[in-house]
């Protein structure tokens, strides 16, 4: 993982315009977040049909919650990703499964990747930079826990078995890591140094 770029601010926020009923902003949102949501949905589902249903649910949630977006708390990409993850995790729980972590058949049916627009790349970089900065500081063991938990969707028990770590340690790593990243997101939003070391004090 390379060193992150400094967080960048959104040049043209989309979600407030969607909340105001701007249909052009919807197209921009699909340009900017479509690939992100689709990638998440593919990872959290096991068929193309399920992924497509999930994407539609996610964007309904995005449209519905666009008016609640607060740029002082997170980037639009992070906010959309949060809405998507919440919906996708909920779908998985109802089906009693974990996300797929390997390539699945229907991916091959999808069209080859087209080049990202500069805006797409900027958004992804911005959203990831703050988290990457913290991930870089974590011990490999802690980073593995976050990867398997958040990206892999593994249960804490499964991570414990896979990494031969006590279950309590896995939970602590996940919690401390997320608290630190939350603080980093707050730092980026407020543009002031972090002072809360709560994550390391537990």
């Amino acid at each position: 993982m390379s060193a992150p770029d400094p967080p960048k601010s959104d040049d043209a926020p989309i979600l407030p315009r969607i909340a105001a009923g701007d249909s052009a902003a919807v197209q921009e949102a699909l340009d900017r977040f479509g690939g992100l949501v689709w990638s998440l949905a593919r990872r959290f589902t096991r068929s193309a049909a399920d992924a497509e249903d999930a994407v539609q649910e996610v964007f309904i949630a995005v449209w519905s919650n666009a008016g609640r977006y607060d740029a002082s708390i997170a980037s639009e990409t992070t906010f959309v990703s949060m809405l998507a993850r919440r919906r996708l995790i909920d779908r998985l729980r109802k089906k009693g499964r974990e996300p797929v972590s390997e390539s699945i058949g229907y991916v091959a049916e999808m069209p080859a990747e087209e080049g990202k627009t500069p805006q797409q790349q900027l958004e992804i970089d911005e959203a990831s930079a703050q988290a990457e900065a913290v991930l870089e500081e974590l011990r490999p063991e802690q980073r593995d826990v976050l990867r398997l938990s958040i990206y892999g969707g593994w249960s804490h028990q499964k991570i414990s078995e896979q990494l031969s770590l006590p279950l309590g340690t896995v939970k602590t790593h996940a919690r401390r890591g997320l608290i630190r990243i939350r603080e980093q997101l707050g730092v980026a939003a407020d543009e002031k140094p972090a002072t809360d070391n709560r994550g390391d004090s537990k």
Binding site: V55, Q56, A74, Y151, R198
Partner: protein, 286 residues
């Protein structure tokens, strides 16, 4: 904006982390919902935002696949259809949502109708309800908007969580299954409705209902309450079904419902009606 603090309680924090990573089971959702209700001042989404940022960071290691064009078109069309009423409102065809007052509670004045005879064999309440369905004016749009906004909370427990809370806490909850009626399009309708008369709170869980086009029709709930007046079903609010998946919808009864005998759904004009011409599409009763 002043940032909220995370909860001090370890269990509370564990639940927030679990929700952001692996999800919660029903019992945990109830527990977290109770904690959030009791502590509205805590940062309920900060951990989820952090998890989302981490996910995006890890995703940088894989190529992003563009949204398939047919799916993109479908998503864009859904937004377009859902927002046509808003555009009409903003162009002056409808009273602006933010300023229109919520009107008085509405009930359905019912009269006997020939149409009721073919369906009266099930239950008296249903027959009486059907008999009274007629055409009337639309509901105040603000009622619908307010109801929708209450479904959109982020820091607040969602409808599914509040439903779980109601089931866990109320001692007088009735829970009946939805069944489709004559219309074949509703043959697969399922889910349930729960209602607590002591709390005047309830939720519909709906599956298999056809998605509606909000620009032309919306689903409307009716509640038969013989304790009030069996011939005057209470308006339970309008809502949309965006896809064939499962949705949880809070009930927004416009009058107190003390002894419900049946719940029924109709499709009405956008915003709903005060007197429906039917037909009933799904029914939930003991």
């Amino acid at each position: 904006m002043t940032r909220l603090d995370l909860p001090d309680d370890d269990r509370f924090l564990d639940l927030l982390v679990a929700r952001a990573t692996v999800g919660l089971d029903e019992q945990e959702r109830v527990e977290l919902g109770e904690l959030l209700v009791d502590a509205p001042e805590v940062d309920a989404i900060g951990i989820e935002l952090a998890a989302a940022a981490v996910d995006v960071a890890f995703m940088q290691e894989e190529p992003e696949i563009p949204l398939p064009s047919h799916l993109r078109s479908k998503v864009a069309a859904q937004w377009q259809e859902a927002h046509e009423p808003e555009r009409a409102a903003s162009s002056g065809q409808t009273t602006p949502m933010a300023t229109q007052p919520v009107g008085p509670a509405k009930v359905l004045p019912l009269t006997t109708s020939p149409n009721s005879s073919s369906r009266a064999g099930t239950r008296q309440s249903r027959g009486a309800f059907l008999g009274g369905l007629g055409i009337a004016a639309a509901l105040a749009f603000a009622v619908f908007v307010g109801w929708q906004l209450r479904q959109q909370g982020l820091n607040e427990p969602g409808a599914a969580e509040r439903r779980d809370l109601l089931l866990a806490q109320a001692t007088d909850v009735v829970r009946w299954q939805w069944k489709g009626l004559e219309d074949p399009a509703f043959a697969q309708a399922g889910g349930d409705v729960i209602w607590s008369s002591s709390r005047q709170d309830g939720y519909m869980t709906l599956r298999g209902l056809p998605a509606n086009d909000p620009s032309t029709q919306q689903y409307q709930l009716w509640i038969v309450d013989p304790g009030r007046d069996e011939k005057h079903p209470v308006d339970g609010g309008v809502f949309d079904v965006p896809s064939s998946g499962e949705i949880v919808v809070p009930i927004a009864a416009k009058l107190a419902v003390d002894s419900p005998a049946a719940f029924a759904l109709t499709l009405e004009q956008p915003g709903g009606v005060v007197v429906s011409a039917g037909p009933l599409l799904t029914l939930a009763q003991p």
